[in-house]
């Protein structure tokens, strides 16, 4: 468990040392990407061309309802595109990441690296 920062502590934590830049980085994190379920979905989609709903469900461990909601949010944010096709009385849902989504995911990991570097 991390020791809480005391006012009398001679060395304040890195977050305060770096001041504005770190706070700015934290504040500029994309909230859509920063959510764990959506980050997992984007990580999967960034590693392939398309993935179907069943694979995303298995790979992320999300329930069908939650996955559906998160996919809709990502599509609304223009980070992914969802396609639905009918096949033998079944609807096959596939998703793929768009350029903006790939860019936002890369930017997010770079920001996280900066935060890690600042804390180290």
């Amino acid at each position: 468990v991390a020791k809480p920062h005391s006012v009398l502590s001679p060395k304040p934590p890195a977050l305060e040392i770096r001041g504005d830049s770190l706070v700015t980085t934290l504040a500029s994190l994309n909230r859509v990407v920063h959510e764990p379920a959506r980050l997992a979905i984007l990580t999967v989609l960034a590693s392939c061309e398309t993935a179907d709903f069943t694979f995303l469900e298995t790979a992320t461990g999300l329930t069908k309802g939650n996955l559906s909601v998160q996919l809709t949010r990502l599509e609304e944010a223009s980070l992914i595109r969802i396609k639905k096709a009918a096949k033998k009385n079944r609807t096959i849902t596939t998703a793929h990441i768009v350029d903006e989504g790939r860019y936002q995911l890369g930017r997010y990991w770079r920001q996280m690296e900066e935060i890690r570097g600042a804390k180290a």
Binding site: A40, T43, A46, F55, W109, M112
Partner: protein, 204 residues
């Protein structure tokens, strides 16, 4: 907590981890030393047996593909990603060898071609940095066994022992890959998604 590198690995190599769909082929190779003990049969019966075997291979492939798709879903990897390892300098250089043998001296071409067909795909898996270390090590062990013990069995049972060894290595690696796939998905179902900060730490 789930490691994002594992998530990337399982997505990128989802199809590669399903070589178990060809299981009847290595099983038949393992049984190779017993083939010549079979009583002689007429060519028409032999052809019938071959057709039955090919149907068995195709049937198992179709059934396992459908079963895996229903259970785990499907992923389409981009053509660029599928061809990524072929552009590796070592792999590219190895592709040149059978071509050079074919052009210069065609006598040993079939031997060189068979060796390349086994060696290159195995080396692609070992050299691929996006693979998990455990998979790369397992495939490296398989390659070493095949190319060190294999030649020793060339004279046993008219080479059938080497064939059986190749089948055993192929089947073992297929089972290893499929168990790895199942284990990663089991880990995910136990720990659905990690906090982004935790994922960032594990990614680094």
């Amino acid at each position: 907590m789930l490691n994002p590198q594992r998530l990337e690995f399982v997505t990128r190599h989802f199809r590669d981890l399903q070589t178990i769909r060809f299981a009847p082929v290595p099983v038949a190779m393992i049984l190779a030393p017993d083939w010549h003990r079979m009583p002689h049969v007429s060519p028409s019966i032999a052809r019938g047996m071959l057709v039955a075997f090919l149907l068995c291979v195709a049937g198992f492939y179709w059934w396992s593909t459908v079963a895996i798709r229903r259970r785990y879903g499907s992923v389409k990897v981009s053509r660029e990603e599928a061809l990524r390892m072929r552009r590796h300098p070592i792999i590219f250089a190895l592709y040149v060898i059978p071509v050079a043998v074919f052009v210069a001296r065609r006598t040993y071409f079939s031997d060189v071609y068979i060796l390349s067909a086994i060696f290159i795909p195995m080396l692609m898996t070992i050299l691929d940095s996006t693979n998990l270390a455990s998979r790369r090590i397992a495939w490296a062990i398989g390659l070493v066994i095949l190319f060190t013990a294999g030649p020793l069995f060339l004279d046993v049972e008219k080479g059938a022992a080497t064939f059986a060894l190749a089948g055993a290595v192929w089947l073992s690696l297929s089972v290893f890959d499929f168990l790895l796939l199942r284990r990663i998905f089991a880990e995910i179902s136990n720990f659905p998604v990690a906090a982004p900060t935790e994922m960032a730490v594990r990614r680094g």
